[in-house]
């Protein structure tokens, strides 16, 4: 990635040089003619209702730009785009100020969803807000080339208790996806949720007061970079879940350079389902995914842990091994090739939540948590969970050396799960950094062994992962 940045710099310098080259030509420089206006429709304020706007969207030609006026406009039903190419929907400003920005309000809508888009290759959505849409604010599926830029998707009032916005920005079953410069607030599931997609870049967004901040799910080749993710239940999630039809696996994801802080919100009242797998107070969570790198992030103030890496088994997710995705692949519940390194992680683990606070009789790990904390207390150590947690479950098919009960075991080479070289702020009074906890969960459950802490040998490794390129 450094080479990429260098390349961009080099290009910029070339451009600067080229410009100055032109300027050197003396006083004869001609002002180029203004570009012809893009074909399309400039929508009037009077047309800013779902009936008229849908008629405009239906009539749009491939390549059109639909320009929305500033103001806040109420919609009674969803806006829809189907079967278009190279369509751009652009509003004014960044969607925050109704006097000069474009805001689409679905507060009084009769049916769910804000803007729903299906089969719109090379589409761009830019400079507007979608407020108070039940279901999904902006949903784009089955499209190759999706840009969401400078948008705001928000549940505006008391999202913790009233939100019915499942997802904010939601590209799914799509390829070449860019979500950037946007604000997502108050979804009861994931704010930015990219599912069943490939070649994804999610960058420079401000995502808060959701259950999951940013989620990459059942997807391939994703970059999550430079986002500010805060005050969600969990910050950034890299998940593979059973159920989806296009892909059952997640692989090749890099989470880097994000600011992830204070993701300690209890799940929204309306949250339900697999998103509740996130223990509140988790900075980043990697679930049943392969080739995932979490690096150069600043991860601070999380009451459960900074980074949680778990198999589906560890998360209690059940699945049918017979079910295959459209590629013919079954669900893969294991973590392999995970590398958590060079992150700044501080202020973590003071009050573990979710499964770690759920009574053991209900399938939770509360007994373990209480025992772990008691052990720390007995040693005179601060009673906190470490910065990085791994459930320690190894795939018997691709790992080796597992015990008869399925516990233990190691992966070789780049299949390993590694957490090394993070910049950990030691908890106050600690005698060691609290960097890693290898739960060795199966041994914990069967009583055949226990977690590895403070030195987690299996996590102390480095690996090399394939390059992740994101949106191409």
């Amino acid at each position: 990635m450094h080479t990429h940045k260098n390349r961009i710099l080099a290009l910029t310098m070339l451009t600067v040089a080229a410009l100055s080259g032109c300027g050197d030509g003396g006083d004869a420089t001609q002002t180029p003619p203004p570009p012809a206006p893009a074909p399309g429709t400039t929508v009037t304020a009077a047309q800013m209702n779902d009936t008229d706007l849908n008629a405009i969207l239906a009539a749009a030609n491939d390549g059109d730009t639909i320009t929305l006026p500033a103001g806040k406009f109420a919609m009674l039903g969803p806006l829809q785009i189907t079967a278009k190419k190279n369509l751009t929907v652009v509003g004014q400003g960044n969607g925050t100020d109704p006097s000069k920005d474009t805001i689409l309000s679905f507060k009084t809508a009769l049916t769910q969803n804000g803007l729903s888009v299906t089969t719109a290759d090379s589409s761009t959505f830019k400079n507007f807000a979608i407020e108070d849409a039940s279901g999904n604010a902006l949903f784009v599926q089955s499209s190759n080339g999706v840009t969401m830029d400078t948008l705001r998707a928000e549940w505006t009032t008391d999202p913790e208790h009233t939100s019915t916005m499942a997802y904010g920005l939601y590209p799914v079953k799509s390829d070449n996806v860019l979500v950037t410069n946007s604000i997502v607030v108050g979804s009861r599931d994931a704010g930015v949720y990219v599912g069943q997609s490939t070649n994804i870049t999610v960058t420079n967004n401000d995502v808060h007061h959701n259950v999951a901040g940013v989620e990459i799910e059942n997807s391939h080749n994703a970059i999550v970079e430079g986002n500010d993710v805060h005050e969600n239940t969990g910050g950034i999630l890299v998940f593979a879940l059973p159920g989806p039809t296009r892909f059952l696996d997640t692989h090749d994801v890099i989470v880097r350079g994000n600011t992830i802080h204070d993701n300690n919100l209890p799940p929204a009242d309306n949250a339900q389902g697999l998103v509740l797998t996130i223990p509140p107070g988790t900075g980043a969570m990697v679930l049943a995914s392969q080739n995932v790198e979490v690096t150069a992030n600043k991860i601070t103030d999380h009451k459960t842990t900074g980074v949680l890496v778990t198999s589906a088994l560890g998360a209690g997710i059940t699945f049918s091994p017979e079910t295959k995705d459209e590629q013919g692949n079954p669900y893969d519940p294991y973590e392999r090739g995970v590398y958590v390194h060079n992150n700044v992680i501080r202020d973590f683990g003071t009050s573990p939540g979710g499964a770690f606070a759920t009574p053991t009789a209900d399938g939770g790990l509360q007994d373990f948590t209480l025992g772990f904390m008691a052990g720390l207390a007995a040693m005179g150590q601060p009673q906190v969970f470490p910065a990085v947690l791994w459930d320690g479950i190894v795939d018997p098919a691709t790992g080796s050396g597992l015990e008869a009960d399925g516990s233990g075991g190691v992966y070789a080479g780049n299949l390993q799960v590694c957490s090394m070289g993070n910049h950990i702020a030691w908890p106050e009074g600690a005698a060691f950094p609290f960097e890693n906890l290898d739960l060795n969960l199966i041994a914990l459950m069967t009583g055949s062994g226990g977690p590895n802490f403070p030195f987690s040998e299996r996590l102390t490794c480095t690996i090399e992962l394939p390059e992740v390129t994101g949106r191409s």
Binding site: T51, D52, N54, A55, L57, A58, L76, G77, Q80, I81, T82, A83, F106, A109, L110, T111, Q112, N113, S116, T118, T119, S134, G135, N136, Q141, S142, T164, A166, Y167, V172, K173, R188, D189, G195, Q196, V211, L241, P242, G243, P244, T245, R246, D269, N270, A271, Q272, G273, L274, V275, T318, S320, E322, T323
Partner: protein, 417 residues
């Protein structure tokens, strides 16, 4: 309906070259007053080759050139007192129909003269280009309480036939699904004018304030939604993620396999189409599939639920439909199959996160309709919960009861709490 006599069957060979309206008139004459050959069963001799047909009967437009008024199609006529299908149309009904806020529907198909429908046991019948499927939505008239809302009756449809009495019914919209020359389909919605004499092209959709008045009990106000072009696709592009070319949803062999009252003559619909020589490749009613009428208490709950979910959900909830990303697949073939998680049993929802109430965790929790999200979403209205997301603003109380009973008796084990 116009003639008290039993109409004679129409030979399809004649249909190819005779204007249908003229044909009907000839037969009416032959059967009732003509010839004195005695009895309505008489078959007339083959008529002589006629002159070129007059410009009567339906005109099928390319959807991009749809006329502003429905009357220009000559598919139906309405005079404020009665809506009448053109005689070239064949009306039909479905074993199980999509619920649309208790609207009644008069369905009919127009197949161009000389063309046939390729019969297939699975999926919609393969109609020839130039076909128009014509569906008129209407309600029994009722007396309401709010002058700003159109009062409509909350009843269960049993009416069939070829006309609608506008003394007792109110027309709302007529949707035309046309198969174009290139084989693709497109939907064209018309909303009926206040005088009930014609309908106006409304591709942008329309909201109508209504008051649904039951025979007994309190009425409820709701907003009836005429779908726009995109919404049509969302349901009808059922094999392409709800985008692009629409396909018919209702007229599948299994759903057409039932009797219809053709104005006094009751006949199996597939046999009727076959008798009109409109079907090719048809292997007989005996071999045709039939899905249950979900209202038929003589059928098993499973058969009724499979039918209802297929017709009301599976246009989106199939592996190629608009809701495929949910992984909840509610086709007739899939519901009840061994892969129970794929039709909701103990399946955590993927693209939806909850009722906001405790206890609801799975789409279907066998034995526990009161904690099954599928039933919750069927039985609520409002932006946050309503399923289907298109075309329902009121609860289908009779179907909710049936699906409740079905979930309650499912043989699968209850899900983990």
């Amino acid at each position: 309906m116009t003639t008290p006599c039993t109409p004679a069957p129409r030979p399809a060979s004649a249909k190819a070259w005779l204007a249908p309206a003229l044909l009907a008139t000839l037969f009416a004459l032959a059967a009732c007053g003509g010839g004195g050959s005695g009895g309505g069963e008489a078959t007339p001799p083959p008529p002589p080759p006629p002159p070129p047909p007059p410009a009567a009967g339906p005109t099928i437009f390319d959807p991009s050139e749809a006329p502003t008024k429905l009357s220009a199609w000559h598919l139906v006529t309405a005079d404020g007192a009665k809506l009448q299908l053109d005689t070239a149309l064949v009306p039909y009904d479905l074993n199980t129909a999509l619920f649309s806020d208790y609207a009644f529907k008069l369905r009919a198909m127009y197949v161009p003269a000389g063309k046939t429908i390729a019969y297939q046991a699975e999926g919609a019948l393969d109609f020839p280009p130039g076909t128009a499927l014509v569906k008129t939505f209407y309600y029994p008239k009722a007396t309401g309480t709010d002058p700003d809302a159109m009062p409509v009756g909350q009843k269960t449809q049993t009416a069939q036939g070829t006309s609608i009495d506008l003394g007792t019914n109110r027309l709302i919209e007529t949707r035309i699904l046309v198969r174009k020359a290139d084989g693709t389909w497109a939907g064209i919605p018309y909303v009926w004018d206040a005088d009930q004499k014609d309908a106006t092209l409304t591709p942008q959709g329309k909201y109508l304030s209504m008051e649904l008045v039951p025979d007994t009990g309190a009425s409820q106000k709701f907003t009836y939604s005429v779908p726009n072009t995109q919404t049509c696709e969302q349901c009808h592009a059922s094999a392409t993620n709800g985008s692009g070319s629409a396909v018919p949803i209702g007229p599948k062999a299994g759903n057409l396999n039932k009797n219809y009252d053709y104005g006094g003559v009751v006949q199996n619909q597939l046999a009727h189409l076959d008798g009109l020589h409109l079907l090719s490749g048809f292997t007989g009613v005996g071999e045709a599939p039939a899905i249950a009428d979900w209202r038929d208490t003589g059928q098993t709950l499973e058969a009724r639920a499979k039918s209802y979910l297929d017709v009301n959900c599976a246009h989106c909830h199939n592996a190629k439909g608009y809701a495929s990303q949910s992984g909840l697949l509610l086709t007739h073939d899939n519901v009840g199959s061994a892969a129970a998680d794929t039709w909701g049993v103990c399946k955590l929802p993927l693209a939806y996160v909850g009722t906001g109430l405790p206890g609801y965790k799975y789409d279907i929790n066998p034995g526990s309709p009161e904690t099954s999200i599928l039933l919750f979403r069927m039985s609520h209205v409002g932006a946050g919960q309503t399923m289907p997301v298109v075309g329902r603003q009121t609860n289908h109380v009779e179907a909710i009861s049936m699906v409740n009973d079905w979930i309650a008796q499912l043989p699968q084990a209850p899900c983990a709490p």
